[in-house]
Amino acid sequence: MSLTYLEAIREAQARALRDDPRVIIYGQDVGAFGGAFKATKNLAGEFPGRVMDAPISEDAIVGAAIGAAIEGMRPIVEMQFADFSTVGFNQIVNQAATLFWRTQVPCPITVRLPFGGTSGSGPFHSQSLETIYAHYPGLVVMTPATVEDAYSMLLEAVAIDDPVIFCEHKYLYYHLKADKLPTEAVPTGKARIARAGRDLTIVAYSAMVHEALAVAEELKTEGHEIEVVDLRSVKPLDTDTVMASVARTGRLLCVGESWPWGGVTAEVVARVATEGFALLDAPPMRLNAKDTPVPYHPNLWAAHRPTARSIAAAARKLLRQ
């Protein structure tokens, strides 16, 4: 058996529905059709009444999920693309994220955001929005980079009593495969050493982990041992694991696919600079997408986001310092 990242997401939802009668799924075309990406394929048939097609009403979709959560359910909301969550933004950041703090009643909703760039998708079907959600208090923001994490973290997202923004990368949907589903997992909030090394730490998450791993492989041939830290969730952000890695390597390069101003790379570099300054043998570096919308054309898209090539160039520069 071999499973894609996308199939793992489908399997996690199937299992959540099976194991917990409180779980429901709500989103556009998630029912009989099985979702725009087929992440809910066959689930409406297997779990009658619990996988519901929604109107094109992102605000009301999230609002209803919050209400159902108050009533003890565990709703999973599928946004058709992360980009469209901006019209459900208010309910997420002001209603779901504040409910527990205001009333002590938790709000266990999971909002699945198919996100990130793929070739030819353009400015409104490619966005990486982890930053805007992580900025708000009261949300957990997950960014799984592997098939195993896509599966286990989605199950955790449903189990967690807080609202979770589950950022699933569309580029990984079909590109990643695993042999089997995991039976156990690192807890949420813990980063993972995706590859051990001693010369340089590359901190990444989601699709960028794989670019970083390719760089590590490439630079090995040049005699460098690159450590790759996969953040797994960007909020909470596991500063300890990052710091421990930088303590080992003395060099930090942080890579994110979202826009350059104030994203994950800013937060990671700022934390290391403020709390682990003495660990750094060279100035830290960061690499982000360019500060424009995500371009449609493959030529432009490939230059807009960080790739193994641009990461390798940055890493070499940093290793020389």
Partner: protein
């Protein structure tokens, strides 16, 4: 049918049942209105005395509609009040003490000093704590109703209040449409008090009556004179009955006037004097009082006694809340997450 692991929907205080004799319902409603009015007046005077941090938002002139909404509900039902719903909140089971605690920032209040003025609620008990973004509570009520249906719980009604201004929000539209698609037992009560802050209805909508919207959603529409307690009680009862009977969302549109500023900082100088002297400008509390007297369901002495009793209740609540501790930043649990293991120490 889905069985939820934890069932949470137990109302904390029964309201006058929908089956009560109408005279009793009316007198009960009047007494809630009186309590709400007196409580509001108390908050206004505390505000003028500089005793309240932040704004004060009153329901003056809207008590009849508000109380009628709450009294159409039963234990187990859900209510999402808005800023003008002092009366409905109380009738639904909120207490004068919790109101005072929230306004005065008591650490023992339901919002523990974290949120103030009209933002209180107890979601597990069916009383939703409004966020400020207008229109945002309606779909939350929908979600509760949907969940009840999935859990096989029958007969729940959910009511949400909204001003005419908030009918212009996308959230209102998406939620009412959602309720219509799902045929949810939602009673959506629009208080058309002719102004949204300073904005008159001519800058808010262009239909003849907001009830004309009902057909466009495929829901039932009702209109009512919001200054007339009797009419409000009957209309809301009817709407709730229809919703409970499975006839889908009910849109109730009431005409009335807010007899105060948008908040207590506002002198409402923009309100058209003609409206004030027109029938919509009547004070629903006076109208209700006259109605009770006329029906002989209460005499002047009884009403005076009620007033005294409610005044006392308000004073007690405020005094008690004032004696309570305010929140202590050093004791405060500075996190917005409920999952302890996911908290970060970062500041």
């Amino acid at each position: 049918m889905v069985q939820a692991a934890d069932s949470v929907a137990v109302r904390f205080r029964p309201v006058a049942a929908g089956t009560a004799v109408f005279s009793e319902l009316c007198t009960s409603a009047f007494r809630w209105m009186l309590l709400a009015r007196l409580l509001d007046e108390k908050f206004a005077s505390l505000y003028r005395a500089g005793k309240i941090h932040g704004g004060v938002f009153l329901g003056r002139g809207q008590e009849a509609l508000s109380v009628a909404t709450a009294l159409a509900l039963r234990p187990g039902d859900v209510f999402a009040p808005l800023i003008r719903d002092a009366a409905g909140r109380l009738a639904f089971g909120d207490t004068a003490l919790d109101a005072a605690r929230t306004y005065l920032g008591s650490a023992l209040g339901p919002m523990r000093g974290r949120d103030g003025n009209v933002h209180r609620g107890k979601p597990r008990e069916g009383l939703l704590p409004m966020i400020s973004h207008l229109g945002a509570m309606i779909s939350v009520v929908n979600g509760i109703l949907l969940a009840r249906r999935l859990k096989g719980i029958q007969g729940t009604v959910g009511a949400a209040s909204i001003g005419e201004g908030a009918t212009s929000t996308g959230a209102f539209h998406e939620a009412l449409n959602q309720a219509a698609i799902e045929k949810l037992p939602l009673v959506l009560v629009v208080a058309n008090n002719h102004y949204a802050y300073s904005t008159p209805t001519s800058r808010q909508f262009a239909c003849d009556s907001l009830v004309d919207k009902a057909a466009g959603y495929g829901v039932a529409g009702h209109r009512v004179d919001g200054t007339d307690l009797e009419a409000c009680l009957k209309t809301l009862q009817h709407a709730a009955d229809q919703a409970r009977a499975g006839r889908g969302p009910q849109l109730v549109v009431a005409k009335l006037l807010r007899l105060c500023g948008h908040g207590e900082h506002d002198d409402a100088g923009y309100i058209d004097p003609k409206l004030k002297t027109s029938p919509v400008g009547r004070d629903c509390l006076k109208v209700a009082e006259e109605f009770l007297l006329q029906q002989r369901w209460a005499d002047a002495a009884t009403i005076a006694a009620w007033r005294k009793e409610k005044t006392h209740e308000v004073e007690e609540a405020v005094t008690a809340a004032q004696r309570e501790p305010t929140p202590d930043p050093y004791e405060e649990d500075w996190t917005a997450l409920s999952s302890g293991q996911l908290r970060e120490g970062n500041e």
